[in-house]
Symmetry: C2
Subunit: 163 residues, 2 copies
């Protein structure tokens, strides 16, 4: 695929993010199984449900563009998931694993926040307002998921300070 | 390296981020050369200066821990930079390149925001308050750099709407 215009770049990035979301969907169940803290398990599970919605919204954006919803390999997400799997394999202590899982999930969230932020801006620039609204809904959920994980991390910090 | 405690995880993540910052330092000059918009060039250059400070601060944190400042391969940053280089190679139009460069730099920023956010929380949890303050200074700069890039993207959007 040659990228000559913002339309091309928008489509390329949509494919990148579709691939990334599908990769996250596959990785999340393993992270849920590794989690011990019940709130963390619940947060990861609810993020899995949201991620399914994100895929559906992306498919809707492809439909608006009249293009097939095909992913394209996203090297960044491949790297993020490799890092997550590598780290999970090295930890056996449950407390340490939970701390690592929160941080890994937040790294994934932030990648998505960056990508959807960009896609919303480009959709507006291209006059694709319906697509912009769909992508903005997902962006808001990514921010929400990141905030929920930060709150979990903070509760752990306070518990450690009190303990 | 086996990771059994939060201390181990903190040290592991510091090494990961040191590797990532050094990799960014190598990638930024190429991105600067590819940029056309003068404000974007300046933003990337000023982020390079900041990244040099981030490396120095990380070295100070290693010193606080009494550990050598050695990086450890960060698969996520390898992936992010691969993605950036792949995309830059596919674009020839200067306008489209500038849009892509902003988005790629923001993806890198967000990875760092996630990592430094985690490191600050863990440093506090471990009672390493001086380290927490150093890492927080970098985190604030990463947020600032991301905001500056968002502002650039917004100006482009407004210019396109007016044009």
């Amino acid at each position: 695929m040659t990228i000559e215009t913002l339309d091309d770049l928008f489509l390329h990035t949509l494919k990148d993010v579709l691939y990334a979301e599908r990769k996250i969907l596959k990785a999340l169940p393993k992270m849920e199984r590794k989690a011990t803290d019940q709130k963390l398990k619940t947060a990861l599970l609810s993020h899995r449900d949201e991620t399914e919605d994100h895929v559906v919204r992306l498919e809707e954006v492809f439909e608006i563009l009249g293009k097939p919803a095909r992913g394209a390999k996203c090297d960044a997400m491949v790297g993020l998931i490799e890092e997550a799997e590598g780290l999970m394999a090295e930890i056996s202590d449950p407390e340490t694993m939970d701390a690592a899982l929160i941080s890994l999930a937040q790294a994934v969230e932030h990648y998505e926040i960056a990508r959807y932020g960009t896609l919303v801006a480009w959709a507006k620039q291209l006059g694709l307002l319906e697509a912009a609204a769909l992508l903005k809904s997902t962006l808001d959920q990514e921010y929400g998921a990141d905030k929920a994980l930060s709150k979990l991390a903070e509760q752990r910090l306070n518990a450690a300070a009190a303990g």
